[in-house]
Amino acid sequence: MTEFLPPALIMLAGALLIGLTRGVVRTAVVLVAPLLTLLAVWQVPDGVVLTVPFLGYPIEPVEGSAVRRLFATIFSIMAFTGGLYAFRQAKWYELAAAYAYAAGAIGVSFAGDLISLFLFWELMALFSTVVVWCGGTPEARAAGIRYAIMHLLGGVILKVGIEGTMVHTGSVEIRPMLATDFDSWMILIGILINAAAPPISAWLSDAYPRSSPTGSVFLSAFTTKTAVLALILLFPGEKFLIWVGLYMVMYGIIYALLENDIRRILAFSIVNQVGFMVCAVGIGTQMAINGAAAHAFAHIIYKALLFMSAGVVIYRTGYNKCTEVGGLFRTMPLTAICGIVGALAISGFPLTSGFTTKTLISQASANEGLVVVYFALAAASAGVFLHAGIKFPWFVFFQRDSGLRPKDAPWNMGLAMVLFSLLCVLLGLAPELLYRFLPYPVDYYAYAPGKVVFYLQLLLFSGLAFFLLLPMMRRTNTLTLDTDWFWRVVMRRAWLATASAFRQAGDLLFGNHTRLQGWLRSKAHSYFGGAPRGLFAQAWPIGTTAIWIAVLLTAYVTYYYSH
């Protein structure tokens, strides 16, 4: 197997070469490395390809299967289109970090054992933090540190679970399990932190909008979706995930509705969309797993497209907030149209990729007779149209005229957006293209007329609700408290209070310490001090000394004879 190159390694080499090359060669590396990776991804056969012994465990850095190749494929396509979108605008080190981050994601996709999974997992955490930092502002630096802390913490929890599993089962193999004991719970929690599951979801909406306009495109794609893949591989059918997923779906909608920052709206809708996938993994049937995988594939495309569209707006105007922009369709028609395509796709409008993949999940819940899940997902589909499908394009490209007349997207950004827009529509028109690569055989027809009518009603009337309720959705210059309030405010205050308590205790001790010292010193002084005053420093008359000696001798003799 010497002639075989692991796909993640090609991507990593690309990241390295970006730093070593200049000009046209660097551009060539940016555009060719993901394509070579894609080629390598499709050379990976089913089963374990590479085995390396390590500490007595068989390490399997490359193991192929349909679902692994599917995720690695979309990660490679994402890296290519993201590279195309960013190569003329982003700093070279942002591109290099983003490619190393993508390499981590591809590495996780093919990781055959828990140890390699963990290594690539940490590679992602490391380089995604660098991508956040490339935002370049003090806020980006602070958010990057919070992001890194959260992911390192998640990594430690995952590591505890992995090591527990190694010790207790003697195996590091990746195989389906359920959260039954401490080890598996730790693994599950570690993965869920990366999936932005509650209560640790605030890192996503905190960090992603702080990155550069190009950085957020990469960030939107990899971390949460590798977590979905890890859940598919390790916890299919873990019922707990259904409720986690439903919570994420609703959380994303509500917080996005309250949000003013353009990219934060999209960040909350990542949580919402990943919620659909997590819920599907929880349902765990073949159709549900197919749905989770297909939806992840489609989601990466339309979510990156939305972030690209928002990125162009921020790149061209320098504004981040709904309250600052508006009416941009006049001079940015391409960006607006691509943004609308992405918005329709995320809403699952018929003829887009969102419709052909999300309905798989709804169908899976209906097949299992999960009434609550089915209706919650239907309500959530309406809510997605509300918070992302209309809200994003409406507030950015329409609403009032902000008076801004920025130029449309630079050619490379425009090309990347058009590419992904076409993919959104293509997968909507010809879902079989995607269905044949899903992990299980697909027996599903997305365009049953009754289903199309149902979803059209659902979505169109959500649109009506949006415009009728617009007065209730006026954007305000506010943020919404999230669970991160507990560590950014409560824990910080507790820390400050503890520090100040220790300081006071220290002061008190030190104060008493000096008082004690002073007292001892004055006593010593009174006994041993200078000749005129110190008790033992005075000159005593001989007679007094003789008397004292006589007294002591008498006492001693008396004591001696009395025994």
């Binding site: 602070a142 909608i253 509500i254 509705l257 309250l258 508006g326 009416g327 369709f329 006049r330 209906a366 009434v371 089915y374 209706f375 239907a378 309500a379 309406a382 809510g383 509300l386 329409f398 009032r400 005229d401 902000s402 008076g403 801004l404 049953a448 007329p449 009754g450 289903k451 199309v452 009518v453 149902f454 979803y455 059209l456 009603q457 659902l458 979505l459 169109l460 009337f461 959500s462 649109g463 009506l464 609700a465 949006f466 309720l469 209730m472 959705m473 305000t476 210059n477 506010t478 943020l479 919404t480 408290l481 999230d482 950014r488 405010v489 910080r492």
Partner: protein, 100 residues
């Protein structure tokens, strides 16, 4: 009576007039609303011809998708509004917290 000076200034862009982009003209917006209303009506009317196979009974009812979609959105917006009343803070909330 309120004087004009005390009012906040209108949006800093031009008011959409007949010389503005087609999409921003009041006449076009009226037209778009009519088209939208027609599409809404059509989507419900389509259920006369197309049978919507409900999985759980109620979702097969006439115009169920329309009513459910509308009510779900209404509920979410109201819930978000109420929640926002408790959880909204000024944008520099964390800046003030973390800089002191």
């Amino acid at each position: 009576m309120e004087s004009d000076e005390s009012r906040p200034p209108a949006s800093h862009g031009a008011d959409p007039g007949e010389d503005d982009a087609w999409l921003a003209r009041p006449a076009s917006i009226r037209l778009l609303w009519r088209i939208f209303a027609a599409v809404l009506a059509l989507s419900v009317a389509a259920q006369v011809v197309v049978e919507v196979k409900g999985y759980f009974g109620v979702d097969g009812w006439f115009a169920f998708g329309a009513v459910y979609g509308f009510l779900a959105c209404l509920l979410m917006v109201v819930f978000a509004k109420v929640l926002g009343g408790f959880l909204k803070r000024s944008e520099d909330f964390y800046g003030v917290e973390e800089d002191d």
